[in-house]
């Protein structure tokens, strides 16, 4: 008798399907060489290196991957991507995992990245432009007192040099822009 047909997509299959609008990402061809981890300037701060994270995806260790800070600490420098000998776009894989955990609303506690990203997108969808002071509220209050004061001092320095925006910018054809957005994500962009 033949084995029953597998109807549930594996985690590897799910992640593989998440990549680029235009093409897939050959995660399955990873040879675990570690060039990505060796090239990554943030690896020392991650709980799992990129190489180990790819191994975990291929081993279907979904919880380990979803609880990891690796992709939220990725700075998008693409050093891994240009060096991977198997042509895996690792930085885009990190983006895909960010999206996946945001959709599932399940990511490591205490990360600033997810809230920051969501605030950023809301700001742009609402005005067409980014605006630093609004973005600041998504992370500043998670800081301890010393870091908060350092950040405030930096902002003051920038303000004195005329480098801080006092008013948010917005594009001219904002209504059209919002309708464009609504054709992509029907829930996005309040009218």
């Amino acid at each position: 008798m033949s084995a029953p047909v597998e109807t549930r997509l594996s985690f590897l299959g799910e992640v593989g399907n998440l990549l680029h609008a235009a093409e897939g990402n050959p995660i399955n061809t990873c040879i675990q060489c570690g060039v990505c981890s060796g090239s990554c300037p943030v690896a020392a701060f991650m709980d799992h290196t990129p190489r180990r994270l790819i191994a975990a995806i291929r081993a279907d260790r979904k919880e380990m991957v979803m609880g990891s800070n690796t992709y939220w600490y990725c700075a998008s420098c693409y050093q891994c991507t240009v060096r991977c000998p198997r042509g895996i776009d690792i930085a885009e894989l990190m983006y895909a995992l960010k999206r996946y955990t945001i959709w599932k609303n399940q990511y490591q506690d205490g990360l600033i990245g997810p809230t920051f990203s969501e605030t950023f997108v809301k700001t742009i969808v609402g005005s067409g432009r980014s605006y630093e002071p609004v973005l600041a509220t998504s992370y500043l209050f998670t800081y301890g007192l010393q870091d908060f004061l350092l950040e405030a001092a930096t902002a003051t320095g920038l303000m004195l040099k005329g480098r801080m925006p006092l008013l948010p910018a917005r594009i001219k054809r904002l209504d059209n822009f919002k309708r464009v957005v609504q054709r992509i994500i029907p829930m996005g962009g309040k009218r």
Binding site: H20, A21, A22, E23, P41, V42, F45, W72, Y73, A75, S76, C77, Y78, Q79, T81, V82, A91, Y95, K98, R99, I102, L111, I112, G113, P114, F116, S117, F120, V121, I124, G128, R129, S130, Y131, E132, L135, Y139, D147, L150, E151, T154, G157, L158, K161, G162, R163, M164, P165, A169, I171, K172, R173, N176, F177, R179, V180, R183, I184, I185, G188
Partner: protein, 292 residues
Amino acid sequence: MKKYAYFPGCSLEKIAHSYHVSAIESARALGVELQELEDWNCCGATTYFAIDELLAYTLCARNLAQAEKQGLDVVAPCSGCYKNMYSARKHLKKDADLAEHINFALSEDDLQWTGGSAVRHLIEVMVQDVGLEEVKARVKKPLAGLKVAPYYGCQILRPRKDHEDVEQPRFFEDLLGAIGAEPVDFLLKLRCCGGALIITNREAALSMVRNLLQSALQSGAAIIATACPLCQVNLECYQKQVNTEFGTDFNVPVLYFTQLVGLALGLAPDRLGIGSELVNVMPALAAAGNGR
């Protein structure tokens, strides 16, 4: 006069305003007109792709379609904007379904993308389109004796756009050489500044900035030159925080390459936004005999 649709990007509106004015001024002095892209929107930065890929491409496509309407190629001074719009165009060209879907949305703004406008980085325009010989010919006050660390950062090079050398590029050094400055051998010139981690993982970003500043000083640089607003802000505006965290005493000026090019072309410092730095650049310029 060469003409491009200029996409300043959100940072250049305020926090990197000196990049904006020096880009316009130095380009003009090189015979390049940067006509601001009509009603441009944010490119999505590094955070947008974390939320929705399709929407991120749509944002870029709106700008590209607008440039097409103006019949011009797009020039971005920010490496992040450049990379986003370049990649969006690449994907749209390969994927007809994606393009159709996005064009359906763009028709709400009377725009259509067909791929007519190419995407360029401003430094590329100066090095390739204007050309180093032409730059050299227009230099009035060569920055002789000024040791500059050419900081490439990431997204201007990576991901690889075409077949260019992403491990040992030389175009930044060549441009600095053309304006008479002395590019130093900056070991970490391709290493990331931390980008948006300065917000989402401050500890990591500050340590990355520290490493870069240290490497630049070890290479003998008096100034760091950047081609991206986020690199400039991280390297310059966060120096004090680096000093507090690590007990260092960095005081390295960080200028945009357009400011250095402008000085060499004989433009006055105040027309290039010089004076809005948090780390004063005048002593370094004066020491090299360029404090005009």
